[in-house]
């Protein structure tokens, strides 16, 4: 089982545009950590640094007690699977063929897949509900089905750390909940580490063990849902007023946007 931590990460695209400053984070096994924050708050940047795909200006990411920049891409991919926010899709793969690419880190680029690899592929397809669509061409899938295929590929990597950038993007409500439940179940069953960037605060409250709220180039707050999702912090991070009530079924915080800074759809003529 792998471990991952970030120490004093600072990253900027240039000196006038620092995205994250002196950020430290330690990830725990068996835990779903959700990164929240407004657009441009640094969620994707942080995930890419944790995956070793962006080099911080200072600080370092340590994977299994080794600075991540000292590990090969393949070594990283065996232990850590990253689901990007968006992907190109110009190759006419079937879903199964794309999910099989998730095994490249284990098998290498030139070796044929073994029975063990094929089993991992089938398990990943089943876990994401993509078995029936496995032989469909990717270019014929809906956006949501395509996202589930990418999730299946990340699961097929059988890495013990999952970094998922907006995994529910484009999914319908049922599949959003299915997707987050499956990730949570998997993390608990296999004692994995999962870091997700999400935008839905209420879903986050239901599925996250810990929440890190990014704002002002740093982690403004980190803790459980009741500690982080307060009206004051939400106003600071997102610039909107909200009231927090208890979810009638789950008992988690339910964030209800209110006040004059709420967008047009709550204007009097619509309500």
């Amino acid at each position: 089982m792998s471990t991952l931590s970030a120490k004093s990460l600072t990253f900027g695209f240039d000196s006038n545009h620092v995205v994250l400053r002196d950020l430290s984070l330690s990830l725990r096994r068996g835990e779903v950590l959700v990164l929240l924050g407004g657009n441009g708050s640094g969620k994707t940047t942080l995930l890419r640094m944790l995956a070793g795909q962006l080099s911080p200006d200072s600080g370092n990411v340590v994977l299994d007690d080794v600075p991540i920049d000292q590990l090969s891409r393949r070594e990283i991919a065996k232990r850590l699977a990253m689901m990007p926010q968006s992907e190109l899709c110009e190759t006419a793969f079937t879903v199964r063929e794309m999910v099989r690419l998730g095994r490249a880190a284990h098998r290498g680029w030139w070796m044929p897949l073994t029975d063990e690899d094929e089993q991992a592929v089938e398990e990943a397809l089943a876990a994401t509900g993509m078995q029936k669509l496995a032989d469909r061409n990717l270019t014929t899938l809906s956006g949501g089905q395509w996202r589930r295929s990418i999730l299946a590929r990340s699961l097929a990597q059988q890495a013990s750390i999952l970094l998922l950038d907006e995994p529910t993007n484009g999914l319908d409500l049922k599949h959003q909940y299915d997707c987050l439940s499956q990730i949570r179940d998997l993390v608990k069953q296999k004692n994995l580490i999962a870091v997700l960037a999400l935008h839905d605060l209420n879903q986050t409250a239901m599925f996250a063990d810990r929440i890190a709220l990014l704002s002002g180039q740093k982690v403004m707050a980190i803790g459980d849902c009741w500690q982080v999702l307060t009206a004051e912090r939400i106003e600071q991070a997102y610039g909107i007023q909200a009231t927090i009530v208890e979810h009638p079924v789950h008992g988690t915080p339910l964030v209800v946007p209110v006040g004059p800074t709420v967008p047009d759809f709550a204007s009097p003529e619509r309500s």
């Binding site: 890419r48 995956a51 795909q53 090969s72 891409r73 393949r74 990283i76 991919a77 065996k78 699977a81 990253m82 689901m83 990007p84 968006s86 992907e87 190109l88 899709c89 110009e90 190759t91 006419a92 793969f93 079937t94 063929e97 794309m98 690419l101 998730g102 490249a104 880190a105 680029w109 030139w110 061409n137 270019t139 990418i150 590929r153 990340s154 990597q157």
Partner: protein, 340 residues
């Protein structure tokens, strides 16, 4: 999916049939039965026809097939690397480097040969590889090295080297026609030595590109996704550029600059087998080889006994085909080259 190997096999058979038919035509016509018995070692042809067949026409056909296949594979490699269906084998300066090498040989009158490989062939190959290496170094010195910085470095270096070649042609105008005829591309003077260069150099590049089929598939998903799957992007870029440049250098050294084959062959191949590189690369090789064989047959028969440079034929055939592809894609509202 099981139909794919069958389609590739059919493409290989088609290429072989085109090669056989092409060996029969030219300024001297050879009958199919004479060809058949001659290949079995029977003496059915007179000495002149035997020389034409075995010393002129067969090496020429082999070179045409190898050049077409190498350019097509290099085209797949560069189109995959730049994620751009308009990329072609000369995109990062191989042709301009080869042209400079050949211009220098022609102007200096160098007659040396190395293992029966002439100075022109050798300098073309060295020029192609040298310019590509310079592009790689310049591209990697960019503030943020990327595929795009390589492409831009290639465009700039090509323009500069082409300007030097033009200046040389202007200064040594009595040699300009000779340089120009090489630039137009031809397999007319091929011999078994040329064929061995095309086979060894071009073939090595093709095999290397073939080995990169799965990394090319992963790379098509984008930088973040392919890195997440364990692909080391900088190694991958170097490998593809090296492989595609070696394939191009082998082709250019054997036949001069032949346009359009490397650009359109991958597009034709995609129409039959889709865009997965494990099937696209071999299919493109056979399509490219077939196109070159057809173009060469036209080049040596259309104004027989004189010959057209094959590069002119590939351009004349390639342009309308590419336009057709463009219009077809506009109608079907799909990305050029991304057909299933």
């Amino acid at each position: 999916m099981k139909a794919m190997p069958v389609r590739i096999l059919i493409a290989a058979v088609v290429m072989f049939v085109i090669a056989v038919l092409s060996s029969l035509v030219g300024a001297t016509t050879i009958s199919a039965s004479d060809l058949f018995w001659s290949m079995l070692g029977e003496s059915v042809l007179d000495e002149t026809d035997r020389t034409i067949l075995f010393q002129l026409r067969l090496p020429r056909l082999v070179v045409a097939g190898l050049v077409g296949g190498s350019l097509a594979a290099a085209g797949v490699g560069f189109q995959g690397l730049f994620r751009n269906p308009l990329a072609e084998p000369y995109v990062i300066g191989a042709s301009s480097g080869a042209s400079l090498g050949v211009a220098l040989v022609i102007i200096s009158g160098l007659r040396a040969s190395f293992f029966s490989i002439g100075a022109t062939t050798l300098l073309a190959m060295i020029g192609a590889i040298a310019v590509v290496m310079m592009v790689l170094v310049i591209g990697s010195l960019a503030r943020s090295p990327s595929t795009m910085s390589l492409l831009l470095a290639g465009v700039v270096m090509s323009s500069m080297v082409n300007a030097i070649v033009s200046a040389l042609m202007f200064l040594y105008d009595q040699k300009a026609v000779v340089i120009l005829s090489w630039l137009m591309g031809s397999v007319a003077n091929s011999h078994w030595g040329t064929a061995s260069v095309a086979a060894v150099v071009g073939g090595s590049g093709v095999i290397l590109i073939g080995l990169c089929a799965r990394p090319l598939d992963a790379f098509a998903l984008g930088d973040t996704a392919s890195q997440s799957l364990g692909l080391d992007l900088s190694t991958f870029r170097w490998l593809i550029i090296a492989a595609a440049s070696v394939a191009t250098a082998g082709a250019v050294a054997a036949s001069g600059v032949i346009g359009f084959v490397g650009l359109i062959s991958p597009h034709i191949a995609r129409m039959f087998v889709g865009s997965r590189h494990a099937v696209l690369i071999p299919m493109s090789v056979f399509v490219g080889g077939s196109l070159m064989l057809i173009a060469d047959a036209i080049a040596r028969t259309v104004i027989a006994p004189a010959e057209l440079p094959v590069g002119i034929v590939t351009a004349i055939l390639g342009c309308p085909f590419f336009l057709w592809l463009l219009l077809r894609d506009r109608r079907s509202d799909s990305t050029l080259g991304a057909s299933q």
